[in-house]
């Protein structure tokens, strides 16, 4: 009960201090033609409902107040009117047809991705997003930012250090920030190809009016043409397991010139990563890089200290695999096993360093794995 009363007390404190940014009452109009159309449809249907509600509930409450026994009302005995039944069947049909026409137009438009000028492939993983620019040769993973991760008091024992009080509110864009953002050019028609690597996810950016299931083994598409430079945030919108609530989407929409610069920079660093993967790394370098990769990709299930959450997520600390033959360890990381997804989308250097880290951190005593080993194990 102590914890509970703390939670309630701090909630009241939170409410009384104006720590919250804006809170929304209505859908956003968004920044694409589709999101504008959806907003207009939403408002139209909403107002039609309000008018119908006013008439229907108005009649009901008038009757409730006027036709009561305590006011001496005597019950009429009418109980049938074919005319009335036909009337209140046909009038709604006409209203519905009026709604269906603009809705159909918007639907056909938003499903037509043929006008796209560029393509981004979005792949859902438990619990992060991967973005590929097939033509530009850019590929990266986007995780929940460390600032948010650290302030989630995910361990109930952590409540004693009062993380929960300051945690969530001290971070900018709590749960809606990532370590690497998707970057897109403004005023460009972009096709998103959306798929998944494990379970069904859903890629949703409210301001774009884009929300599409990411199905494993199938590719869905959607499109957006953003008309305003800015940063837009979204979340996974299909229950995808434990950390479904912790795989946000952040998109920077930039000018076309800035976008071109960003592409150049990404291509250069991709080339550097490929070059570094051909070298032999020192164990210290592998360990320090591996720690970072581990924290953003593995710690969600296997925990920062490698203790895991048995029996669903096994411990890495003292595990037979991490202390055993390197090739078996690599096979699991590359191809997955049962609930463990594949991590083959990470680069050779990243995989080599994280596997080395898992084999030598937490008191484990496994061998060192080099990028070239990973490359040949693929």
């Amino acid at each position: 009960m102590g914890k509970l009363s703390k939670v309630i007390a701090s909630s009241i404190a939170l409410l009384s201090t104006a720590v919250f940014s804006e809170y929304g009452l209505n859908m956003t109009e968004g920044v694409t033609s589709i999101s504008h159309d959806i907003y207009d449809l939403h408002m139209m249907v909403f107002w039609v409902c309000v008018v119908i509600a006013a008439i229907v509930f108005g009649a009901m409450f008038y009757s409730v107040f006027a036709h009561r026994k305590s006011k001496g009302a005597v019950a009429a005995q009418f109980h049938e009117s074919t005319k009335a039944e036909i009337l209140w069947t046909l009038v709604p049909v006409v209203i519905l047809v009026g709604m269906a026409i603009p809705a159909s137009k918007t639907l056909i438009d938003l499903e037509d991705t043929s006008k796209a000028e560029m393509t981004v492939k979005v792949t859902g993983h438990q619990w992060k997003w991967q973005y590929d620019y097939p033509k530009e040769g850019i590929s990266f993973i986007s995780n929940l930012a460390k600032t948010s991760k650290d302030s989630v008091a995910s361990d109930i024992d952590n409540l004693s250090n009062e993380n929960y009080k300051t945690g969530a509110t001290s971070v900018d864009n709590y749960l809606l920030e990532v370590d690497k953002r998707l970057v897109l050019p403004v005023d460009t028609s972009i096709r998103f190809l959306i798929t998944s690597n494990d379970v069904i996810h859903n890629w949703w950016v409210l301001d774009f009016g884009v929300k599409q299931d990411a199905n494993p083994g199938f590719i869905n598409d959607a499109w957006a043409k953003v008309d305003k430079i800015g940063t837009y945030r979204g979340q996974c919108a299909e229950l995808c397991g434990k950390d479904h609530g912790f795989m946000p989407i952040v998109v920077d929409v930039v000018s076309k010139a800035d976008y071109a610069k960003w592409v150049e920079k990404e291509q250069a660093s991709a080339a550097a990563a490929i070059a570094s993967a051909t070298q032999v790394w020192s164990k210290a370098d592998l360990m320090s890089k591996g720690k970072k990769v581990y924290e953003s990709n593995c710690a969600g299930c296997h925990k920062m200290d490698g203790s895991g959450m048995p029996p669903i997520f096994p411990a890495i600390k003292d595990s037979a695999i991490a202390n055993g033959i390197a090739s078996e360890h690599m096979a699991i990381v590359l191809h997955g096993k049962a609930g463990m997804p594949t991590f083959k989308m990470l680069g050779d250097a990243d995989l080599a360093s994280v596997i080395t880290y898992e084999r030598n951190a937490f008191g484990n005593t496994g061998s060192v794995v080099q990028p070239s080993d990973v490359k040949s194990a693929r």
Partner: protein, 534 residues
Amino acid sequence: MTTATASHDTHHGPEKGLMRWVKTTNHKDIGTLYLWFAFSMLLIGGALAMGIRMELLQPGLQLMEPQFFNQLTTMHGLIMVFGAIMPAFVGLGNWLIPMMVGAPDMALPRMNNWSFWILPFAGGLLLSTFFMEGGAPAFGWTFYAPLSTTFAPDSTDFFIFAVHLLGFSSIMGAINIIATVLNMRAPAMKLMDMPLFVWTWLITSFLLIGAMPVLAGAVTMMLTDRNFGTAFFDATGGGDPVMFQHIFWFFGHPEVYIMILPAFGVVSHIIPTFSRKPLFGYSSMVYATASIAFLSYIVWAHHMFLTGMPVAGELYFMYATMLIAVPTGVKVFNWISTMWRGSMTFETPMLWAISFVFLFTIGGFSGLMLGIAPADIQYHDTYFVVAHFHYVLVTGALWSIIAATFYWLPKWTGKMYNESLAKIHFWWAVISVNVLFFPQHFLGLAGMPRRIPDYSLQFADFNFISSIGGFAFGASFILFTYIVFDCIRNGKPAAARPWEGAKGLEWTLAPKAQYHSFNTPPSRELIESESQHS
């Protein structure tokens, strides 16, 4: 035959002690068992919901791991749908249908016993998963593959067997009701003389028989995918995870109407009674119920607008879905026309019925909005959907069950409940339920996804309000429990017809309905004079 039954009946009443309830084949006993089972599941499901609202009271994770949160949302949904709402309606059907059609009992009494006694075991199996290694199912009550197959905890197999058992029970219950209505109805009662609760349950039974085997098929495919190497829902083996959703929702959408059609029936009894006026548009009510049932089978993919369906499919499912608004609207218009120029009083059942019409219609409006496929892109899987289906299932289905409890409690117990306490309970519940669910519309429109254990700060205010409403609504059931017990133990004796305007064969029975309802079928004159609609 009739005289033989009558003389047989006078010899014995119910058996004494516990074995009465284990061995009973009496529709009233079984109805009572169903209702108590449903009520205890409602309290368990409600306790899980309290856990959910507790965690969502403020941002940050305070009380539980995300995986446990997912177990709570999953089990809350499953228990409320399969453990609380559906058995409660079967319980009402058991109690009321034989009385309403002038029959002595249900047509298949031994099967009736069996279909009830499966339930506690199915429910126990489902609840036991909480104590298993790896925890309870955590993939949502819709259990989409592959999260529920390849990536699910071991307890999923127990969940599958529990669903199979619940399905057996529902199908048997439905067969029994169809057989009772068609074979045991008083010979002088034509189909179009039947009260609406009987009509809505008859139609619901056909929905159950059509839909539950499809669910059984879906979970069986899950079972073989999980354990026997098939790949129905696994793309790497040539299957399709979206096919799971088609099969699930082919069950799931009729299921929604399984939970609301009997509610329409209940309300169609209560409103005429307290308006002292015949039900308006009886035959159009019957046809509207049948149309809704038919439409419910051909709209399933409106739950799947974002799965990547072809645009022609989306257009079809959008149009078909919008059509449902028409017969549903007819029902609402008929209820209001029944009240119109009546002579209304506002005893507790009427308060629940009027608030049903109001709040269910709000759920209907948000349902219409969700049916607009492009707009659904923004609403889908957000709290807007959560608000929508709680308005139709809590202030719809559950509201009608509570209304029915107060309305027929005098007939079940022969005693009157405490009217002033019941009115306090009504206002407490109706205010708190709106504090609980109305802000969730705003959360959804502002972009809060459903099924998340933690949220960003712009959602904090409304979540706090919603949680407070949730705790108050949860507490209202303590008072409800007290009122029911108080009625059973201390209630004043009720008249055989405790409501001035009530019509129906059940009110011609003793104040506490006798153990066997009608040993001789009621006459045509009695049926006509007790008809609600002429």
